[in-house]
């Protein structure tokens, strides 16, 4: 569905799988470019969601980044070695 124009040079992982991103790209953009179709499940019904607005409004791009839950993937630039996981349901405050 998405085609890259720039070379992908930044390595991170999503659910333990290696993913390449272009420098300056957001987590959400890199995941979409890598063919990921769902990054989270919703808090109430558990249905699957993918990044949508790409501008910080819809919260459908929520992922866990480096152990921090409920981060907006479209608002965070990928950095090398980042560990990204699916956000499954609501965040747990512990």
């Amino acid at each position: 569905m998405f085609r890259r124009f720039d070379a992908a040079s930044v390595a991170f992982t999503f659910e333990g799988m290696p993913v390449m991103a272009a420098a300056g790209e957001t987590v959400a953009a890199a995941l979409l470019a890598a063919g990921v179709r769902s990054v989270r499940t919703t808090a109430v019904s558990g249905s699957a969601r993918a990044p949508w607005c790409m501008m910080g409004v819809c919260f459908d791009c929520l992922v866990e980044i480096d152990g921090v839950a409920n981060r907006q993937g479209c608002m965070v630039v990928v950095s090398p070695g980042m560990v990204v996981r699916r956000q499954v349901g609501a965040k747990d405050l512990g």
């Binding site: 109430v44 919260f59 609501a90 965040k91 405050l93």
Partner: protein
């Protein structure tokens, strides 16, 4: 010109509850609402069904609130049945936290005073150990709490939507974008909205902050003023709080609402960082785990306050068939408004016990201080 048995002016929670309650009994009802330009508390409130502190110094208000608590489940069932929209009622008790020994002593004194004035409803003071047994996550700065078993909470937006949908399902009409400009009386009522005219046998003024100007048109008085409250809402988090509290609640869908301030600042609904910070800080003392929760929205809204904080319900002497209805707890009192007030308005009028809610009390000189 269309005619109705009852016209309710004001499509907030008070008007919505009365209109649904009346339509449910078979009356032909129209609910007129000014619309998005108005100040509308029904769309900005905290969602508590809160009984424990209501009516200190005013036993009829305490009893009315308790009656509402008892009628709420019936309202919730009626809405679910008629509309399929359940207002997410959870009525398993509520906590009012005390953050110092002083607060604890004052709270205990209030609980005792209300017990003496209005009878017991099972409210009891819990020390920290008893509180921790029920709410393990409370922070070390919490000294204790008052717990009232009949308090609860609901989703106020679903309630509002349910009341409107219920009105329509029972053959009533919801007419938004109608600012009532005048009400004429000739034995029946003619309600004017711009060039439109509606007639009715009975009319209820439940227009929130707009009531002040409408009431004198039918010989009533509703001297209400705005009192701002600010609220913060967090992202959805896993359930950790299964009870209502006076400052924080977790909704059925996981968001945490924190509130709410009481600011006498006129018709101003802006949010202000110092107040939001105070609210957040107090709630983090109560539940330290909230430190990890991200706030996703904040807003301000205006309560509809009478001089003593207690409701006004009254039938006009000069314009029989015209009623006033206002309060600062439209969620809490929705049960009573739909299931007790609406039938009385349609039927023989307000029972003698409700005389205490007439506006004449504001002229007596000794006005009670509002309590929440």
């Amino acid at each position: 010109m269309r005619g109705f048995d009852l016209i309710v002016i004001g499509g907030g929670l008070v008007g919505g509850a009365v209109a649904f309650g009346a339509a449910r009994l078979g009356a032909r009802v129209a609910l007129l609402d000014e619309g998005d330009v108005a100040f509308r508390a029904a769309r900005g409130n905290f969602g508590l069904v809160w009984i424990q502190s209501k009516g200190a110094g005013m036993p009829p208000y305490a009893h009315w609130s308790r009656q509402s608590a008892a009628l709420w489940a019936g309202l919730s069932d009626a809405l679910s049945e008629v509309t399929g929209v359940a207002p997410a009622l959870r009525q398993n008790g509520g906590f009012a936290f005390c953050l110092s020994d002083d607060e604890f002593a004052r709270q205990a004194e209030r609980v005792q005073r209300m017990h003496n004035e209005s009878g017991g409803i099972g409210t009891r003071m819990l020390d920290r150990a008893e509180l921790r047994a029920m709410l393990p996550q409370v922070g070390d700065e919490v000294v204790g709490a008052a717990f009232c078993p009949i308090d609860g909470h609901a989703n106020p937006l679903l309630l509002l939507r349910g009341l409107q949908a219920g009105l329509l399902a029972k053959g009533g009409e919801y007419l938004p974008g109608r600012h009532v400009d005048a009400i004429d009386y000739d034995g029946g009522f003619t309600v004017q909205c711009g060039a439109e005219r509606f007639t009715c046998a009975k009319v209820v003024i439940a227009a929130g902050l707009g009531s002040r100007d409408l009431a004198p048109m039918v010989g009533l008085e509703m001297p209400v003023t705005p009192l701002k409250g600010q609220i913060l809402v967090t992202e959805r988090v896993r359930p950790f709080l299964d009870y209502a509290t006076h400052v924080v609640r977790q909704t059925d869908e996981g968001s945490v609402m924190m509130g709410d301030s009481q600011e006498d600042v006129g018709f101003d609904i802006r949010t202000t960082t110092p107040v939001l910070k105070d609210i957040a800080a107090r709630n983090i003392k109560v539940f330290p785990l909230l430190r990890e929760a991200n706030v996703v929205r904040t807003w301000g809204a205006l309560r509809v306050m009478t001089p003593d904080g207690c409701p006004i319900y009254e039938e006009s002497v000069s314009h029989p068939g015209a009623f006033s209805a206002t309060c600062h707890s439209g969620v809490t009192l929705a049960g009573a408004h739909a299931m007790a007030l609406a039938p009385a308005i349609l039927g023989a009028g307000l029972p003698p016990a409700m005389k205490a809610f007439e506006a004449a009390r504001f002229k007596s000189g000794k006005i009670n201080v509002p309590s929440f």
